[in-house]
Amino acid sequence: MTQCTLNEPLKKRVTHDKIKSYRTAPTARRRQTMHEDTQLGGGDSRFPQTAHTAVLNTRSQDAGVRERAFGRLVQGYWKPIYKHLRIKWRLSNEQAKDSTQAFFAHVLEKGVFAKYEPGKAAFRTYVRMCLDAFVSNELKAGRRQKRGGGRAVLSLEFDAAEDELIRYGPQPATDPAALYEKEWIRTIFSAAVERTQARMTTEDKTVHFALFERYDLADEQTRKSLTYDQLAKDFDLSTSQVTNHLAAVRRVFRAFVLEEIRDMTGGEAEFESDARRLLGVRVS
């Protein structure tokens, strides 16, 4: 059972129209909030010193900060949640869409994110446990009806997530918790790629990103058959330019990955642990 007591400031402002405003069309929102991020600078590879994560900001006194934090967390978690519902709870895609929406409505209504206590569990584990408790209760009560009078309240790209499941679906024996974890990591890295692209475009370094896309985002087979010399020929650059351009994009990408991890985790200890795990130690 999710331990949810009503959070008064949140409760007052909960409306489905309000929820609808947390659109998660990612690029638009990211660009909009870009100036609020710690500046990474062109050649500056220093790490962002974000003082507050999205998780912590869900407790902010400032309603605007809370709203943005909720939007960020929806953005970071909806896909792992949707796939978890599809795989663990074996919901149909329509049921999973509905339950994802319903879960976020429940989270906002009950202030679930704000009740997270760092130290008890990783934030993503907390979200998964809340989700499982929520779905279990819904199933017991036999009410998996749509929230908001049957209309979709969050603009989420469910079709893309469903397509990924169909095309790259997990093996039947995959542990749902492991799948959820992997999807969370994938979301972090995908978001970092997207932000890197936006940054490179802003700085008029599209060639840099094109190299990154061609080499680092290629599938394994393509990457293995590709050399820096070949890239240099294809892009009419010298090999050392290819090396330097790729290094520059990777620096920015790394900083964004760290920023994404920080935003999606519930505190410094969790951030440190996840950053070590994702960037320091290979998990095989």
């Binding site: 220093r46 790490f47 790259y168 790629v193 330097n244 990777r250 951030f271 960037l279 320091g280 290979r282």
Partner: protein, 350 residues
């Protein structure tokens, strides 16, 4: 948004962790190891045209104490010029503030992997002697390693022995070589961990550091004021235990399990003699006062054993002494026996 498949995801993780050495004399070639503090890469020193190993600490953003440990290690190793200690060539900081240091590239195998081969106990003990020599040298320079374990020893292609990972070492004058601003008073006795994992906290009272499976009790309990050369002697004894039995002495995953009983090596492996069993148990005595007082005296006892002499750790019974003397002087005993037999035969048939 482009779908990132699992292999691309794994590649991106490596890419994001890959150190950027552009603008330096080094060119990173491949990652060759992961340690408690960071990643070790094989790299090319373009100025001297030679291959080196570069250890890059993980992000100092979240690993400031590890960064400090690495500097600590570089400074300590730079002071210790010995064939059993890998020399440091260079130390620096990357643009992203990660610290690195460059050292000789060692080709070989870790001791724990090496002994899985069909090596005899005698061959293992000869390796152990050389480890003791290196540690004794460090002690003579006033440095205590504090994290000795088979995983921190490399055996080179020519049988040379190298003691690695001096990141948690400290001066035996009971002062860390480099103090850290991140010292804490936390005791991590309840922290579950891998038996080979090194705790990364620096040393304040009540704080533990080292690897539980090879750690002396005073270290496991965080009594750092009691840590001295004899703590390394204990860890050497624990390594000897591993060399004799193929397993670590402690199975503890938690530091709180500091007082677990250790079955003597001879109980685990019947081929272990009583003498070397006693040497091992003396080195690993729970009370530092009852251990060898130095790595050198431990090495000497092991050398005595290998030479067929009596060891200080074991009081022989007369029959055992006789058996040892016979065993040590097989040729002489055989000649004397043959001579006596001939004399007896001559007496009988004359």
């Amino acid at each position: 948004m482009k779908w990132l498949d699992d292999t691309t995801l794994e590649h991106l993780r490596e890419v994001a962790d890959w150190p950027d050495f552009s603008g330096t004399r080094y060119k990173v070639l491949e990652a060759i190891g992961q340690g408690g503090m960071g990643t070790v890469y094989r790299a090319e020193d373009r100025e001297l045209n030679r291959e080196v190993a570069i250890k890059v600490v993980r992000d100092p953003e979240f690993d400031a104490d590890v960064a400090q440990r690495m500097l600590n290690e570089a400074r300590i190793v730079a002071q210790l010029e010995h064939p059993g200690i890998v020399p440091v060539h260079d130390v620096g900081t990357l643009d992203d503030r990660r610290i690195y240091y460059v050292m000789k590239l060692v080709r070989g195998r870790r001791l724990d992997a090496f002994v899985t081969d069909n090596t005899t106990i005698g061959a293992r003990l000869r390796l152990f002697e050389r480890i003791c020599e290196t540690v004794a040298f460090a002690h003579a320079q006033g440095v205590i390693h504090r994290d000795l374990k088979p995983q921190n020893v490399m055996v080179g292609s020519f049988g040379e022995v190298l003691v690695l990972d001096w990141g948690v070492a400290r001066s035996s004058a009971r002062q860390p070589i480099a103090s850290t601003p991140h010292e804490t008073n936390k005791t991590r006795t309840g922290t579950p961990m891998n038996e080979n994992e090194t705790l990364t906290r620096m040393t304040a009272m009540g704080t533990t550091i080292g690897t539980p499976a090879y750690m002396p009790p005073e270290q496991a309990l965080g009594h750092i004021d009691r840590i001295d050369e004899r703590s390394d002697v204990y860890a050497l004894g624990a390594m000897l235990y591993f060399l004799l039995t193929g397993r670590a002495p402690h199975s503890r995953k938690h530091l709180a399990d500091a007082g677990d009983d250790i079955p003597p090596p001879r109980k685990v492996n019947r081929r272990v003699s009583k003498q070397i069993n006693a040497v091992c148990m003396k080195a690993m005595h729970a009370d530092p006062e009852h251990r060898y007082d130095s790595a050198e005296s431990l090495r000497t006892d092991v050398a005595r054993f290998l030479g067929g002499d009596a060891v200080n750790a074991y009081r022989e019974r007369p029959i055992e002494r006789l058996a040892r003397i016979v065993s040590k002087n097989k040729a002489i005993v055989a000649m004397v026996a043959a001579y006596l037999l001939m004399r007896i035969l001559l007496i009988i048939f004359s």
